[in-house]
């Protein structure tokens, strides 16, 4: 459900008129430019928060790069490097077309495996099924004491042998 973007000043006439921060105005303009006509105020707030966080990360990383190059001030190259390294971490996109086609070529060169006759459905080996037991049973205390006397094996090994 989309609400019309309401200017706070119109609604709260009795309360103090709070000027809209410039960042919020900028984000609102971006949203309108992209084509979003009606949006909630909370959307703008969330986006502003996101923008702050992202810029903070980029600047921190570029500061690290500048320090590594033993420079005091951050340059545009540092910022560019920071942006491109963050891009691969946070905003993942499907790989480019060339990489995809290369992957396809590799995978499609392997011939298809033969099929046996069967009824029902064939499932992969046990370790890939979701119904396999993914836990181990602990043996009881009696067994533990008995085994420690006789063989000196740990209970874990025993339970594995039992499987």
């Amino acid at each position: 459900m989309a609400y019309e973007y309401a200017n706070n000043n119109n609604n709260n006439e009795e309360e103090q008129v709070v000027a809209e921060p410039e960042d919020a105005k900028a984000v609102a303009n971006i949203l309108k430019a992209v084509g979003v006509e009606s949006f909630d105020t909370r959307v703008v707030a969330q986006l502003v928060e996101f923008v702050y966080k992202y810029i903070g990360e980029v600047l921190e990383l570029s500061k690290t790069f500048a320090e590594y190059a033993q420079r005091e001030e951050i340059r545009t190259d540092d910022v560019k490097l920071a942006i491109s390294s963050l891009l691969s971490k946070s905003f993942t996109q499907p790989p480019s077309r060339d990489i995809l086609l290369e992957l396809c070529r590799e995978r499609n060169a392997v011939p298809l495996p033969p099929v046996e006759t069967y009824v029902g459905i064939q499932l992969p080996s046990k370790e890939f099924q979701l119904t396999t037991r993914n836990y181990q049973l602990k043996t009881t205390r009696e067994n533990l004491s008995m085994e420690q006397d006789t063989t000196g094996n740990t209970s874990l090994e025993d339970s594995q042998q039992q499987e």
Binding site: G35, L100, N108, V115, T117, I121, L123, P124, L130
Partner: protein, 597 residues
């Protein structure tokens, strides 16, 4: 004379290098030559061919900074509009790509204000959806560095636009450009377009050319048309284990089979007679025979209280099991055998996925089903155990579509990562990758003979893939909108594609050409299915209609758009429910399922 020619050419080359920005090369040239260079350069009085001289003059005398490309484009646009009808149709296909390439050239030369002005003035002239989307994306390109990241720009820059014109139209265009000294336009034409002179205007292209369309790789589509496609259905012996009594008759049959019969290209599972996967004798005997005079009636399952969260539905081949996937990652299924066919109760939620479920597909035996979801995984579920059995991870991005093969054992999936994948149920990694689409793969469908699969994508094209080597053998397009659903006819000859703008297209697989296009629905065509005797096919959409179309009329049609009345046989209107799944059961009963929103 030779000296003049030398110095003339030298200055020409030097200017060219300077204009293109190759400062290093220009400096090297300047330093190496010992001749004096004059800054001003006027018409050379040389004894060269007039034509060549005019050409060079045009190139040299233009000072780009003074020319306004927007006005140039305006001149071209108005001239094309004012041309003869025949020429206008042919040259009209140039208008939109020329705009895009001029815009990209301006960006490359860093004339940003002009580029924005060009788009602002002319973008409104094109109203096609695909074109508007591309222009919208291009508007965001403000700097030269952004060109590399913008997908639309990259598509246009990497591929030359194929333009099909007749000799006459092309000469007219060239004369116009030279006469008005529209050198930038001319240069853009030479650099980015691939002009193909055709003598006979093809009917199919003229239909497409009436509207401007977005990017489409025409050349690839033509090259792929040269491939042979074996579309005939399989013989029963390919997937049924023959018992000894039948073996004596097979030598006779094998001598009579013609060479056109299809050999399965991938290893197929073989089933004994009576396996749940196969059609039973009962199915074949009790199959309802349909005809134009006796169209089927439909049984509709309407799901209420879904709160717009139900994303996908599938009905089994015998009509007894229905599975639905939801946005809250639950899956519910109803077994008609247990709770009765007319009022489905139960529907225990199956929990497993960690994101909305976008597609479900039941196996031919009806006891297992697959689901694909936003979390990038595909899960195999058992209806008897009411739980998931295997997780298939391969797509790391939302998987939009999954389908079990009609002979079970294999399944295909397509998703946001622009790849289609072929899997078997016993391997958690895919066997084949189908890459080639420029945008998400929305739908994947099996061909009845299990040798090919089709994928429909939001880049407004569909492809047919050979399973043996994973190569694309056909490229169908351009569609007018992204693909929502597809279906193959049972004889394997036709592919029906349902689009997001409600249109339905019929394609001939063998030739790779479109039979026709129908304005089927007012909303996206969510589902398609063909009846077992290939007479009807049903389409369901969000406009609350199920339409029945008669496909046999298409074989003789030569027009590229057949009107709706010629094909439409019957329409069923639901009260208020969007139709998500249509299925002709093995006995030719039409089952439909949808959600009352």
């Amino acid at each position: 004379m030779p000296n003049d020619l030398d110095s003339f050419l030298f200055r020409f080359v030097l200017e060219y290098l300077q204009r293109k920005g190759y400062k290093g090369a220009a400096d090297a040239l300047k330093s190496e030559s010992k001749a004096e260079i004059s800054e001003h350069f006027h018409n050379p009085s040389l004894d060269i061919d007039d034509h060549v001289r005019n050409f060079l003059e045009i190139f040299l005398n233009v000072r780009e900074e003074e020319k306004s490309l927007s006005e140039d484009y305006a001149k071209v646009y108005r001239w094309i509009d004012g041309c003869l009808e025949v020429v206008r149709v042919e040259l009209g296909q140039l208008a939109y790509p020329l705009l895009v390439y001029l815009f990209l050239d301006l960006i490359r030369r860093e004339r940003y204000e002009e580029s924005q002005k060009l788009l602002d003035d002319w973008a409104s002239k094109f109203s096609e959806q695909s074109v508007r989307e591309e222009l919208f994306s291009l508007k965001g390109v403000r700097k030269r560095e952004q060109l590399n990241e913008n997908l639309v720009a990259q598509l246009y820059l990497k591929h030359r636009k194929d333009v099909f014109v007749s000799q006459y139209a092309f000469e007219l265009l060239c004369d116009f450009l030279v006469e008005h000294r529209l050198t930038c336009v001319f240069r853009c034409l030479m650099e980015h377009f691939h002009i193909r002179i055709e003598k006979v205007s093809q009917v199919e292209f003229s239909e497409d050319l009436k509207h401007s369309i977005g990017f489409f790789p025409f050349r690839e589509s033509e090259e792929l048309r040269k491939n042979d496609v074996r579309w005939k259905p399989l013989k029963e012996s390919d997937y049924i284990v023959q018992t000894s009594s039948l073996e004596s008759s097979t030598p006779l049959e094998s001598t009579m089979t013609d060479k056109e019969d299809v050999q399965p290209s991938i290893p197929l599972p073989k089933y004994p007679l009576g396996a749940a996967v196969l059609e039973t004798e009962d199915d074949k005997m009790r199959r309802v025979s349909l005809g134009v005079e006796s169209p089927p009636s439909a049984l509709m399952y309407t799901f209420s209280n879904t709160y717009d969260e139900m994303n996908c539905l599938d009905i089994s081949f015998d009509g007894s099991v229905i599975v639905a996937g939801f946005s809250d990652s639950f899956i519910r299924f109803w077994d008609g055998k247990e709770c009765g066919q007319y009022r489905l109760i139960g529907g225990k939620p199956l929990i497993g996925h960690s994101g909305s479920v976008y597609s479900v597909s039941l196996s031919p035996c009806g006891r297992f089903f697959l689901s694909s979801s936003e979390d990038g995984t595909i899960r195999l579920w058992s209806t008897k155990l009411e739980r998931d059995l295997v997780v298939y991870k391969g797509h790391l991005f939302p998987v939009w579509s999954v389908e079990f093969s009609p002979l079970s054992h294999y399944f295909i999936s397509g998703g946001h990562d622009r790849l289609g994948r072929l899997w078997t149920t016993d391997r958690i990694f895919p066997l084949r990758l189908f890459g080639g689409h420029y945008s998400d793969v929305e739908v994947m469908r099996w061909h009845p003979n299990c040798c090919y699969v089709a994928s429909g994508s939001s880049d407004r094209s569909s492809r047919l893939w050979d399973l043996r080597d994973g190569n694309s053998v056909r490229l169908f397009g351009p569609h007018t909108a992204s693909v929502c659903s597809m279906a193959f006819s049972n004889d394997g000859k036709k592919l029906v594609v349902g689009l997001e703008n409600g249109q339905i297209e019929f394609w001939d697989i063998a030739q790779g050409r479109r039979y026709s296009r129908v304005e089927g629905h007012k909303g996206p065509v969510w589902c398609l299915d063909v009846s077992k005797d290939d007479i009807f096919f049903a389409s369901g959409s969000s406009d609350c209609f199920v339409h029945l179309w008669n496909v046999t009329a298409l074989d003789h049609s030569l027009q590229s758009t057949v009107s709706k009345d010629q094909l439409l046989v019957k329409s069923f209107q639901t009260k208020d429910s969007a139709v998500y799944c249509t299925r002709f059961s093995r006995k030719n009963l039409l089952l439909v399922a949808g959600a009352a929103l």
